[in-house]
Every structure is written in structure tokens, then in C-alpha cells.
Subunit: 351 residues, 4 copies
């Protein structure tokens, strides 16, 4: 009985438009139409005026279009502070004639379009929860405990979308388009928590989104973009319907210096294995302190707090794993506990 098999490639990038390394994979045998997702770290500031994300997305669209491939989920996270190295992580899957044996599983889904008036509100949480369940089915993951990382690209409000909603007599959660990005990330993360049974949907109100940070998912990673009105969802986990040498597990960092939890997660994975990818979220602790000691990330008006957090948590993780092409993404509303965040680890057993 055949199974599915996942492939993960970490490819260095010389700049936001350097997709040559991915094209080289095609020459090495990767079927372009087996690619389901690209997660990129680009060298912009990761904030509002970071055009490296759009530039990289445009470059991949052009590449995939040349190969006749459509529907790849392209998720770009800006910011390679500290020694983080710009790179692409390519996820592919194929059917193989090997029996399933419990291995890394990848599932994707797309939700219906989100009405502007539902963004940053309960409706978004519920819509995303359905989408996550759909992606889990696509991945063949039945048990929520087998889901280790849920990456979501979610929409935001633009002036035009707000105007249209209001012209139709509806209210929106915010008139601040920048703030809508945080609300959308937060609601999406709570949607993951609902889908995985971490939180009871009936207990969450609109007002909890981006305020009650004691509510969070242990494995959500969300990012918002202007180019979509629905949600692109990627679930990474373990499934018996898949085969191959890849495995995934995850830690939840309690705070930015919680190396212990990360080492423990690594120890749960096969010992004789090489690292395939590390995917993490980071944020400045909103309390202004870590373990009773003040940090200055939130009072620094020269460098955005998310940039500080990526650099520092990048260092913590690089010290543990010994690599710098780590996917460390900023802005972790409801993604892990306040000041902490999820860290997914994918390894490949040596054969």
C-alpha cells in the first residue's frame, strides 16, 4: 500500500530575488509540481516597510510560472537579524510505493474568503479552526497531539476593505490597518488553538483577541499579508500514512532564554539524525522583563522590538543547533506564552 513522503530543503539565498538555489533543485530531480510550500527568511526589517518579502514572493511566482506550477503556498518572513542567514525552506510531497511508517506529514488548505467585518473577531477564529482541521485531514493527521507546527498566512484590512464593509453597513475591528495585521495573526493563532483542542471556542470573545495572552496555541505560527483575503494554512506533524526518514517534534519556549525546553524536544527526536529545519516564533516579553531582569527591546525607538527578539532568540537557537539558517519569525500574538514561542524541529534519520 503506497504512502506519502515529505521532502524538506534548506536553500541559501543571496538576496530576496535569488531563487537560483531552488531552481537548481529541479535539475537535481525535485519535481517542481511536488512543491507545496516555500517558507522564506528575507533580509528586510520584517516590519511595515519591508519590501524584501514582496520582492521574494514576486521572484518565486516568476520561477514557478516558468515551470507551469501553480498554487504553491509562498510565505515570506522578513528579518535576519544577528547571524541569521537568509534562506528558503522548500516543502514538497509525493506518493511512494512504500508502506506508511509514521513520518513527517504535510497538509495544506485554504479557507473561504474572510469578510472584512469578521477579521480580528470570533468569526475569523472559527473559520481558521475549520481550515486547520481540513489541513490536518489533508496531512492524514488524526490526533491533535501529532500536529507540531501550523503556519498560517492570513489577510489584513486595507482602507478599501474597511470602506466597503462600512458602505455595506458593517463595522470592522479596527480602522488602523497596521493594527489589523496583529489582530489577524492573533485570531488565526487562536483558531489553531481551537482546532487542536487547546482552547474551547465557546470561551473566547472578540475582546480577548490580542489582550488575553494567557490564551495561546503551543504550535501556531501566523503572518499576515495584503495579497490574500482568505487563509493559507500549512500543517506539519507526524502521521502513520507517511513514510521516509523525516520526523518532527516541537518545544514551547517559556521565555526567550528557555533553551532547556528546546533541548528536551530535540532529545525526543531520533538521535542519529541530521537537522532538516528549525521553525520558531519570537517576541519581546511584553512584561519588559525576562526572569526578573529588565530588557530594553520595547523602549528602543531605534530598533523595532521584533528585530531585537529575532536576533536574540536566533542566537539562543543557533547555540543549541549549530546552524544559522533558522526560520525565526517575529510577532507571536497568542503563539506560545507571552515572551515565549513555539519551536518546531525537523530531522532526517541517517540511513
Amino acid at each position: 500500500m503506497p504512502s506519502l513522503r515529505a521532502h524538506v530543503f534548506r536553500v541559501p539565498a543571496d538576496g530576496p530575488d535569488d531563487v537560483a538555489g531552488v531552481e537548481a533543485l529541479f535539475a537535481s530531480g525535485l519535481q517542481a509540481n511536488n512543491i507545496v510550500a516555500v517558507l522564506g527568511k528575507t533580509e528586510g526589517n520584517g516590519c511595515v516597510n519591508d519590501f524584501t518579502r514582496g520582492y521574494a514572493t514576486r521572484s518565486f511566482e516568476t520561477l514557478f510560472s516558468r515551470y507551469g506550477v501553480d498554487g504553491v503556498s509562498i510565505i515570506m518572513s522578513g528579518g535576519t537579524e544577528g547571524a541569521l542567514s537568509p534562506h528558503w525552506t522548500v516543502f514538497a510531497r509525493e506518493t511512494v510505493e512504500t508502506p506508511g511508517e509514521r513520518a513527517l506529514a504535510i497538509g495544506v488548505s485554504r479557507t473561504p474568503a474572510l469578510s472584512p467585518e469578521h477579521l480580528g473577531r470570533r468569526e475569523q477564529i472559527l473559520l481558521v479552526a475549520e481550515g486547520v482541521k481540513s489541513a490536518m485531514r489533508d496531512a492524514g493527521i488524526d490526533d491533535p497531539a501529532d500536529a507540531h507546527f501550523v503556519q498560517i498566512k492570513c489577510p489584513l484590512l486595507t482602507s478599501r476593505r474597511i470602506a466597503e464593509a462600512e458602505a455595506a453597513g458593517r463595522t470592522v475591528a479596527t480602522h488602523d490597518t497596521l493594527k489589523s495585521m496583529g489582530l489577524s495573526r492573533g485570531a488565526s493563532a487562536l483558531g489553531v488553538a481551537v482546532a487542536l483542542g487547546e482552547i474551547d471556542a465557546t470561551s473566547i470573545n472578540d475582546a480577548d483577541i490580542c489582550t488575553r495572552f494567557d490564551l495561546f496555541s503551543r504550535c501556531a505560527s501566523t503572518s499576515s499579508g495584503v495579497e490574500l483575503t482568505d487563509h493559507e494554512i500549512i500543517v506539519l506533524g507526524m502521521s502513520a500514512k507517511w513514510s521516509g526518514p523525516l520526523s518532527i517534534d516541537h518545544a514551547v519556549m517559556r521565555d526567550a532564554i528557555d533553551a532547556h525546553s528546546v533541548r528536551k524536544a530535540r532529545e525526543r527526536l531520533p538521535e542519529n539524525s541530521r537537522l532538516a529545519a528549525v521553525l520558531a516564533k519570537a517576541e519581546p516579553d511584553p512584561s519588559g522583563e525576562i526572569d526578573g531582569r529588565r530588557h530594553t527591546m520595547l523602549d528602543d525607538s531605534d530598533i523595532a522590538g521584533t528585530r531585537h527578539a529575532r536576533a536574540f532568540v536566533g542566537g539562543v537557537l543557533a547555540g543549541i543547533f549549530g546552524i544559522t539558517d533558522l526560520y525565526v519569525s517575529g510577532g507571536a500574538e497568542h503563539q506560545g506564552p507571552p515572551g515565549g514561542g513555539p519551536v518546531a524541529i525537523i530531522v532526517e534519520k541517517e540511513q
Copy 2:
């Protein structure tokens, strides 16, 4: 026969002018005139226009003046990027009626003022080498192998100092004020290497400074600041003329992700001991790569490379030691191998 005894205190700082925590030590029994040095991490940018160093220095001068104490070496290193926490490390020493037993030793010295035209040149190397020898004598350290950390605060060039030197018909090593900080740090570090016999003084030329990075000291830590024109030198090491529960050892990080060397150094120190202080240097790898992967620290025109490096190496060390009030100082020219740097660890045996 009496011996000397060192004391080390890590004190949180609420701002560059918050010396209340140090004053509180006096109430707890620390004799103010036993203090020989204060190493501070302040929350400025650590570059040319970082006035938090001068502000903190002024605040300590005022404090010490109120207590009738003079001649304390005050070394402020700007930059608490990432989750690094602003703090002061206070070094004190006293004579005790206990025999010497090989323990942490502290010595200090101060050089004559450096003329702007000598900054970043051989003259600075030789001036510093004499100062380091003087501080070693002050510490009772005879064997260079017993010196584990040599901290130097050195001057820099400002537009004004350059103009004055040139008005007097002299040339300066650079017109770039930020670059002058690196040249000063580099020349000072080479001065340490000469004093410790790591490098032969006769073999170094002006042109080697900040270019021949194969020349370095394994335990120099130099930091430049606008607020002085001479050098303040502190030597930390082990000496049989000292007693007490404190010990020091050091690692030389090979690159920014070399956590292994740091863990090994910690293991060489007594196991049943608590961490008293960690003192480290960090810099962007001048090759533009770490272990074959590109970093973007040197191509970033928004954030100085030293700031990236402090945040990242701060993360590596915080992941190892579990604290954020680490002294991580940027700009490690000739201080450890290129892209790496020295890390001194001071522990106190439990009693």
C-alpha cells in the same frame, strides 16, 4: 600571612544614571573604598553617539565622590541589544588574614593620554602593552597563562578631535569616526597580546591593525568610548596571593555559534559553584559568513554590525548560562579569532 580577596557583584540598572543598587551594597557592608572597578552595560547604541556611557560614568563619579572614593576604574560598554539587561558588575578587593590559596585576582592601571594621531597605530599598541603589564603587577599575576580577561576602555576619534589633530598638522588613522572605534579597540587588543607574549611587538605594523586578524589575544576585551582620551585597564586572573571562593576561566569562541567552547570552559571551573559574572566579546564575522552561511550584519545600513553581534551572541550565551545580565561587548577586533571572541566566566564556590 594575609592575602587579597576579590568580590564580584552583579547589580541591575534601571537606566544609565541608576546607581542606587550599588549604593545599596554600601549599606549591606561593602566598603566603598574597596571597589577597584565597575564594568557596566548601558542601553545606548554602543557606537559613536552613545552618550549613555558618559552619563553612567558621570553618575558613578558623583556617587563615589559622595563616599570620598577616588580612582575606581569605570568601564561602560554601550548596547543591551536583544534581551541583554542593563547592569553593573562591581569588582572589589580587600586584604584578609587568610593565607593565599589561588583565587580570582584583580589588577588595574591607567595609561597616559593618547594623542589622536597615535590612535589605531603602533604607538597605541605599545602604550597599552605597558599598561597591561602594570595591571598584572597590581594583580600579583606573574604567569601570563594566569591572566584570563583583560578589559580595556580606550578612546575614539570624533570629528572634532580629527579636526584638531589636522589643524596641528598631524594625520589620523581614519576620518570615519565609527571606524576609529574599531581601530582603537584593535590596537588595544594587540597591546594585550604583546603584554601577554602572544605576539612579538616588533612584528606588528600600523597596517596590520584591523586587517591581519590572524593576530589576536585570547583574552583581550576592549571597548572604546568618547568620554576618555587615555586607557583604563583591568586584568582578571588567578593568583596564589589571593584567597576566597571566586575562580575565573575563559573560553575563546571560534565563531559566533561556538557554544561548545564555552560549555567546556564552564566545565573546567568548580562544579558546585554559582555564576558570578560572564564577560564576553562579540563581532560580526568579517568574512560575511558563519560556517559557510551568509550573515547580513555587515551589509545592514540600518543597524550597526556590532549591535547585531551583541544581540546574537547575547542569545547564544543566555541559552547556555540562563541569565541575561551578561557583559557582552561589541567589536572584537584582534580579540579572539575573526568572528569569535573571548568569554570569561567567574564562579563562586558554594560553601
Copy 3:
């Protein structure tokens, strides 16, 4: 019948702690205890973590203390972007045996401390309004039309102050420390408008602060700093109780490129006069546009919008007046129309 006489001195500063130029004025005959206020431009970022303001304030306090002078209003505005030059503007006043003849008048006052939970709310507006009236009385200005510039230094929220307020069971207007600076400036400016009868206090709600920018004062200039918790207020205007060669008038720039209004204000002042000081406010137009053309100041996550605005409006004014030691202060919420701001011009008639 005697009158009061104002003196205004523009003094270059080599750094936040360089008060030598002011001390030199004492040697030239200025009575230290005639000084009522110092307005400084220091070279920090003018945002939350700008310690150059506190450092300069400390330096002046030390200087004045040495001369036995107390109660001088010291207002430091950070940020000398572009070619703006760090400097101090010293305001002094004395009684002379000359009849009043309508000349520059200076009055000062200080409010009680503001609780963190009142910052950016109605309570701050009312507190400031009382303070402005007190300063006008001090200046001998009866008619609000004779007030041309009201400078206020107001507090801000830090992570710590927020935590303390919330620990005491109180809410704060914002958790964003940079945003708290704007709210404080805005509420203070509305306090000026209330005091000058430009706005009716009963018509303003908490929600109007930093949102209803159609409400503004034509001559408020407010600046927030981490180093105080109350408000320091200086009123500049014309009064018949004063004498001497100094006169003041002001323009309200309609937007950041409104050079015309500034030139007109200069023309209203005596022709045969030299420039004594220019005091202005600048801000990024909140509409995101100036005269129909997009600006990028509010979407830039690398440089704070206030820094952009000071540099640019500094250029506009330097092109008109031909000097760079202009007091251009950022963040003009409710200080002049949105995107514009007040510009006070003080000249001294040639004699």
C-alpha cells in the same frame, strides 16, 4: 516706573554635557539667577530611550547648583536630525528702570506630578491648562492673543511606569511607550488651547486626544521626556510691562512645506533686526500625504516619524533663516493643524 526685560542667548553645545558656553555667559556679565529657562536641542533620538535629555538636564542642574541658582526651567528636546545643530537657548529676565514699552515677555510655571493613569487623558489637559494660566500671569500677559509660544515639557510612560500603575489596579491610556509620548504631547497641547480660549474644555473627551486633530492650539509646543513626571511650562509673548529690543511673533505652518506663512511672520517683525531664536514644531502629516503627494514617514519602521519630520522641517526653516541652530521639536499633535505646526520667531532690533 520700572519694567521687566528679557534676554535670549543661543549657545552651541559640543555634547549633552557641554554647558561651558552657558557658564561663559556668566563671565560676560549674565547674572545666573536671572535665568528663567533653558531650551535645549540635544543629539539623541528624541524618542523613548533618548538619555541625552536627562544627561543635559543633569549637567545644567550641576552648573546652576554651583552658582546657587534654583528653579530654572530646563526643557530638553532630543533630536538634531539633518543639519540641525545641538545648542542651548537661554532665557533670562531682569527688572530695569525703564518704562514698559511692549516687548518680549517670559513667564514660567510647573504643575504638580501627573499620575501615569492620567497621562494622555482629560486630567492631563486640565492640569496643563491651569499651569499655562499661571505662566501667563507670571509673564504679565493678559490677552491670549499676545501669547506667541507656549513650550511645555511633559512626561511619558515607560514599561516600568505602566507596570507600576497596573500593579496598583489602574489602567493606562496605552501600553506602547513611544505612543505615550504622543498622547502626552497631545493632551498638553490641548491644555494650552484650553488656557488660551482656543477650545472649550467641556467639549473634549479622552477619545479626542490624538484623534481629533481639527482641535489644536496655534502656539503650543510640547515635548515629552523620560526624566520628569510633572510639566514645565514656559510662555513667550508680548507685554507692555516689559521693555528692551526683543520682539516675538509666530506663524502656523499649514503643512511641512508651508514656507510662505513663515516668511510672512518674519515680515511682520521689525525689519532692522537680527534673528535671536526660531522655535518650531514638526510632525509627519497624519494623512500620509502632503499636498496630494505620499510621504513615507509613518510607514518607516527603521526611523521614527518624528526624526524624519525634524530633519525635513529643519531644512525648510534653515533655507529661510540661513541658520542651523534652530529649535525644531518633533511630535506636533494638536500643535497647529495636522502635519503643520507653530513657528515662533524672536528678533532683536538693531540699535
Copy 4:
């Protein structure tokens, strides 16, 4: 006898990839293949890691390719600090059946690729000088006095290009990538000076580049970018072989506050004319002072000096011309006197 006719369009840009405004010109009648050059201001940092230039260039290449147009000189200058507005200035030319009457003339050329080891050295000067002469011939400008603005886009050194050159056994002029931008701009400007007979080529050495600022061109404007390895050259001037309502003249600002020279240049142009474009260079005065007053642009380690200078000179020019979509480009090494720079003004006579 026919003549050439120039057209100049200023088009707002919503982002680095927004070329819709230029495409709209095609619908309005502009022949796409009449376009010879696009000068853009994009909203990046204008320094080493500014990818908005490459992104914009890519977007225009895609647009022009769709219209079958090739060989347009696309010059992107990053940095819209202050209130400067992102925009494109489109230069087109066509042959008309009107006799020549002395009007704006446009010529372009492109040099061979520059080897990294020649960047910032004599070889670059000579290469550029040939290119400028070629562009003048293309414009029909015989007399160097008729050349009013020579815009050049030149390459820079990245960490990677430096490594490749050194791997091939060659030396480079600098290891500092930001500094390489200045050296390239400086050498290119000296190339203009040589071509226009302002400087004798035989008198310039490598060491003069970016040090002997008494050597400069009165109308060079050079801009370096990571996206090319050769030089794109555009010459703007007056020629009797051209016709139409457009005229150009230029000022040389003596320093950053020299509004007078700019107003004089505007007065030399026809009075009844509307502004078509303003093209200027700006830089921090290398002396650290303007008219005897210190500026802080060169000592600021948070914001690059070129960013300060663009914001400030942008303000000076916006105050004069009343528009914000000005082409103000940073880094004016050897482009006008130290601290000053050329300002070209193009107007269209009303008809």
C-alpha cells in the same frame, strides 16, 4: 529641418513595484519606445541593503518588456527621507518636424562592466569619462557649458564581490561595503569632471578619491546600487538641435543651507514656466560643521549620514519649490563642493 524634442513626466509611486502610473502614460499617448530613461526615488534606505532599487528596476524591466521596449536607462535612487515622495521621473525623446531652437537635450550611454578591483580607483574615473563623452554626443551637446546635469548609476562592493576579487588575488579599495558606495560615487563624479574639462585626468591619483574634495564636478550626480556592475549615464543639457518648451539650468549649492544659489538658478529660467523636475545631490558636510555650527550627521551610528542629508536638503528645496516629489540623492562626493551639491531645475514654458 527636423529636431529632437524632450518630454519629462513626474509620476507618483505607491511602492517600489508600482509602475501603473507610467503605464497610464502610454494610454495617454506617450510612445513607450520614446522613453530613454527613468529616474526613480524609492523608499529604501539608499544604502547597501536597499532592495527597493532592485525591486523597482525589476518592475520597470517587466513593464518595458511587455511593451517590447529595450535599453531604457533605469536609475533608482533609494531614500525618501523626511517628506520626500516616492516617484518616477520619465525622460522621453522623439524626432519632430520643427526646427531646433535650443531646448532641453537628453543623451544616454552605458559603460563596460567595472571589475571590483577597479572600483574607487583611477580606472573607474577614466571608464566613466569615456561614457559621459559618449552620452554628450548622443545628446548633441558639444559645449561642456551646456551640460547641466550628468546622472550616473554606478556599482558598489558587497562582501561577496570583495571575497571573489580577493580569491582571484586582487586587492579592493575598501572592505567596508557602505564606504564602497562613496568611493564609487566619488570616482564616477570625477569621471564627469574629467569629461567636462573641469579637471585634468592626469592630475588625479587613487588616493585623491574621496579625500581631495576640492576636486569636483559642478553638475555630476552619481548614485550607487547593488544591482549593476557597469555604469548607466544620462546627460541633461541645452542643445540647439532640440526644440520644445523645456529648459534646464542648475545651481551649485555651496552648503546644505544655500537656498540663495538655488533661487538664483530658478530666476535664470523663463519666468512664465511651470516646474517639470528638480534633481539634486546632498551630503553631510565632511567638516562636521555648516557655517560654523556643528552638525551630528557623521557621528550618528543609528541613521546613515546620507539619510540625514537627503531629509534636510529635501526640506530646503521643498521650501523653495513647494513640492515634495523632488529627486534628492545622497552621497555627493566630488559632486559640487564639500557639503554642497548640484541642483538641476527643469521647467516648461507656458504656452
